[in-house]
């Protein structure tokens, strides 16, 4: 029982990271109708930026800001270089281009930094606290806390601010939005920047828990994608709950079934959902109209 509680805590912590990346997927999908396959690399690049900034002697908080600013820049460049030129083409070329971008990002970092995984220190001096039978690791607490704050911020931003409403309008009907005087290309640019920062935040938060490696991007992206399918594709709440669920499933799977195949559980859950409930827990968009 104690072990189960401990695993639940760890699972939610890891799941929160998947949720953040999944949220990035969903936001870009809703704004552009394509899945950004480089979303995971945003997390990886941010973690490396953080390592570089810390090694350069910046204080942790300053490194954090520098890394996030770098991610905002990367999101903008990504939009201009990969998505924007293809915006009038069908989804297949765009998918392939984002896959190309993901390969480019991962291997550029590999070429610059080499295959040796890097270590990033956690934010806090104290490693954690013991509450009853469960040891609460401070980094996991931070991840969960930040995720909760971001979910609240997201809700406020999209429902209560004018910019958030403009973004929603753009994602629902680009033509109508542009007729109402909303600059669609600006809204898409903001979406990419915001998603890159979200992905980057997830990468920086999870870095002290995992190693900072080239593979961390694709691993996280895969699970975040599985999370969006479990939750119901295109659904914000679904992405968050799907991410948490996947983190818990995976942690229990690793503890009770097999450690080397830990990364395979996401795939099994994904296939099971695709076969038995492809619309996910919260349903999916309707099919194309004739």
């Amino acid at each position: 029982m104690d072990l189960a509680l401990q695993l639940l805590f760890t699972g939610i912590g890891i799941g929160a990271v998947y949720s953040l990346v999944a949220l990035g997927f969903v936001l870009i999908f809703r704004a552009t109708n394509v899945v950004n396959f480089a979303q995971g690399e945003f997390s990886m690049v941010a973690a490396y930026l953080m390592v570089v900034a810390v090694e350069a002697g910046l204080p942790y908080w300053a490194a954090f800001i520098v890394a996030l600013l770098g991610m905002a820049l990367l999101g903008a460049v990504f939009n201009l270089g990969v998505y924007y030129p293809l915006r009038h083409r069908s989804y297949l070329p765009v998918i392939i281009a984002t896959i190309g971008a993901s390969i480019l990002l991962a291997n550029s970092v590999l070429a610059i930094y080499g295959p040796q995984p890097q270590v990033l220190e956690g934010w806090f001096e104290t490693p954690g606290i013991q509450v009853g039978p469960v040891y609460l690791d401070s980094q996991y607490l931070l991840i969960i806390g930040v995720t909760i704050c971001l979910v609240i911020f997201n809700f406020w931003f999209f429902e209560k601010t004018l910019l958030g409403k403009k973004l929603q309008a753009t994602s629902q009907d680009k033509e109508m939005a542009s007729l109402l005087g909303i600059s669609v290309s600006t809204m898409i640019m903001i979406t990419f920047i915001y998603s890159a920062v979200l992905g980057g935040l997830a990468g920086i938060l999870v870095a002290p828990v995992l190693f900072v490696s080239i593979q961390m991007g694709s691993t996280i992206a895969l699970k975040a994608f599985a999370a969006t399918i479990i939750g119901g594709f295109g659904d914000v709440a679904g992405a968050i709950i799907g991410g948490l669920a996947l983190g818990v499933i995976e942690t229990f799977g690793a503890a009770y079934v097999s450690v080397p195949y830990k990364d395979g559980f996401a795939f099994l859950v994904l296939i099971a959902f695709l076969i038995f409930r492809p619309q996910g827990i919260f349903g999916e968009r309707v099919a194309e109209k004739a």
């Binding site: 999908f29 394509v34 899945v35 396959f37 270089g81 990969v82 030129p85 293809l86 083409r89 989804y91 297949l92 070329p93 998918i95 392939i96 281009a97 896959i99 190309g100 971008a101 993901s102 390969i103 480019l104 990002l105 991962a106 291997n107 550029s108 970092v109 590999l110 070429a111 080499g114 295959p115 080239i214 694709s218 895969l222 994608f225 599985a226 399918i229 594709f233 080397p260 195949y261 990364d263 395979g264 996401a266 795939f267 994904l270 296939i271 695709l274 076969i275 492809p278 309707v286 194309e288 004739a290």
Partner: protein
């Protein structure tokens, strides 16, 4: 549009093309020369290895040209399927001491089954799912290769893989692989002109239209995906025999990306493009070996390549050549037309061709169609009209199976089709056109209409490709476009595209033809011509159910009218009486 003279039978011999084997003889002669060269030239080991790698990789990339090029579906796990085939031969010939041939076939089957399973779980959904699921599958296969040491020997790989006794020397084995490449290349090249190949291209161009033209979209995609996996497995098996050693890193996600890049660079649409892309991407890294000294650098360049190709050269290198070929083909004279189009609608049911009973379609709380009854009499033109938002197009979509009915029954010529998917309804005799034209854009007019003629259960078309072309030409000539049969869809005007869509439906010899706002967007001359065409169709006894806003067209063409408003039937009967019905007048003009 059509002049009456176009419909006169033109005396011409029926089409007889030379047998395929004769037409394609130059290909086989060329292939035989290559095989003989591979068997007799003395290459040094380095060149030999590069040739062997290029040959086996090209077979795997052919698979991508089927799934991505022909069918428009993505596969990011081709290296995993390649690896399944390679490990089947590797472990089979060493640990199990089985014959090479048995292992090669076994590997192909394993890949085929894995591909079919992945396809079945995912291909009903959008393309994003397929991309992610194939990546996941790729990761799983790599995980198993590395971690299941009892089975795969883990990261050390499998050495001392055997070759068949017949091809023990590396020279003869290379010749064998080149022969396999030539055979597979021929099959893939020829595939696009077969019934299955046309179905794949139709699915790639427009899934909805493919479905209502009698193509089982889901099954077609699974075939394409499984075939791609099979070719991956075959290529992997040959690769393992050739290099006698396999290890997990040869079949990683990075290799899947290499395969994808090869396919994109050469041009996804053709096996020739695949061969060019494979050759270039195997040679270029050999020339630029220094890039490999920095880990990651050459893959980073591949990633950049992918982005640049997609943006600036979406059809690949071969695309330029294929473009020229398409322009040349458009100038070819259309095939001769043997006779006039005959429509012989099936007559198995009674006097009523289509009976709709209590049909409803609800979207959440919205009752778009609510308990509608329609009875379409055989051999007439029946119109379904109503103001905007009255549920006309929804009704048509439920009839053709694009939407599932919430309740009610649909009986076509005595057969209950309520629960059939679109392609089975088409097989049962339903033909339709779309309000927003849905043609297969990368194909010629003739190919579009051929797909219609290929409807399962079409009794008006004989066996073989020639009969199919003949039927399609008759249908195109019937609508007045026979002379432009070889032109691409994009070169036709909007009105003509409408006619091609009607020809596509007519070629299938339907029992009932559904026309969704055929007059929308046509000018007044074109409308008159459309009216003439409808008369000529009706004269052959084909029943038409038409939706339109054009009251002149509807009142002149239709004998019987059903009127919908807010999803309910408000009037039904003989045309003139219905149009004077007070409820109909108030629905259109408003009441005082």
């Amino acid at each position: 549009m059509s002049a009456p003279s176009d419909n006169m039978p033109i005396p011409a011999p029926a089409i007889r093309s030379k047998p395929l084997v004769v037409r394609h003889l130059p290909y086989f002669i060329g292939a035989a020369i290559l095989v003989v060269l591979a068997a007799n030239m003395n290459f040094d080991g380095y060149v030999h290895n590069i040739l062997l790698q290029a040959t086996t990789f090209a077979i795997a990339v052919f698979g991508l040209s089927v799934v991505l090029g022909l069918c428009g579906q993505i596969n990011l796990a081709q290296a995993a399927f390649f690896g399944l085939g390679a490990y089947a031969v590797g472990m089979g010939t060493t640990d199990l001491q089985l014959s090479f041939w048995l292992c090669l076939v076994g590997g192909c089957l394993i890949s085929l089954l894995a591909g079919a399973f992945l396809g079945m779980s995912t291909l009903r959904l959008g393309g994003h799912y397929l991309a992610m699921v194939t990546i996941s599958f790729q990761q799983i296969v790599t995980l198993v290769m590395i971690n299941a040491i009892w089975l795969t020997r883990g990261p050390d790989g499998v050495p001392n893989i055997k070759r068949p006794d017949l091809f023990q020397s590396s020279q003869s084995y290379l010749a064998f692989c080149v022969a396999m490449l030539a055979i597979v290349g021929y099959l893939v090249w020829h595939l696009s002109d077969t019934k299955l190949g046309r179905a794949m291209r139709a699915v790639r161009d427009n899934e909805l239209a493919a479905g209502v033209n009698g193509i089982d979209v889901f099954r077609t995609k699974i075939y394409a995906f499984a075939l791609c996996a099979l070719l991956g497995g075959l290529a992997g098996g040959l690769f393992a025999g050739g290099f006698a050693y396999v290890s997990p890193d040869q079949f990683s996600f990075a290799e899947s990306i290499v395969f994808l890049t090869m396919s994109l660079l050469g041009g996804v649409a053709s096996p020739i493009g695949s061969a060019i892309g494979t050759g270039l991407l195997i040679l270029i890294p050999e020339w630029l070996r220094f890039l490999k000294s920095v880990p990651g650098l050459y893959l980073a360049i591949y990633g950049l390549f992918v982005i640049l190709i997609i943006r600036f050269m979406p059809d690949g290198i071969w695309g330029f050549v294929a473009d020229a070929f398409t322009r040349w083909r458009a100038k070819l004279p259309a095939p001769p037309v043997a006779g006039a189009l005959h429509l012989k609608p099936a007559m198995t049911g009674g006097d009523i061709v289509l009976e709709v009973i209590g049909l409803s379609k609800h979207f959440g709380g919205l009752k778009a169609v609510d308990g509608v009854d329609i009875a379409v009499k055989r051999g007439g033109v029946h119109a379904l009209i109503g103001p905007n938002g009255s549920g006309k197009t929804t009704t048509l979509n439920v009839l053709s199976g694009l939407y599932v009915a919430t309740s009610g029954r649909i009986v076509l010529d005595g057969t209950d089709i309520t629960h059939m998917p679109p392609h089975q309804r088409t097989a049962s005799g339903l033909g339709r056109t779309f309000q927003n034209i849905r043609l297969f854009r990368s194909m010629t007019a003739l190919e579009n209409v051929e797909i219609g003629a290929e409807r399962p259960g079409n009794t008006m078309v004989g066996k073989g490709d020639d009969a199919l072309t003949e039927r399609a030409m008759e249908a195109l000539t019937f609508v007045g476009l026979g002379s432009r049969a070889n032109e691409l869809i994009s070169s036709f005007s909007y009105g003509h595209q409408r006619l091609i869509e009607i020809a596509r439906a007519l070629a299938s010899n339907p029992t009932l033809l559904l026309l969704d706002e055929p007059a929308a967007g046509l000018n007044s001359t074109e409308k008159l011509e459309l009216h003439e065409l409808l008369k000529r169709i009706a004269a052959q006894g084909l029943t038409i159910l038409i939706i339109d806003h054009d009251m002149t067209l509807v009142s002149e063409a239709a004998q019987h009218i059903t009127v919908l408003n807010f999803g309910r039937r408000i009037a039904d009967g003989e045309s003139m009486a219905v149009l004077r019905h007070p409820d109909v007048v108030s629905a259109y003009l408003g009441s005082e």
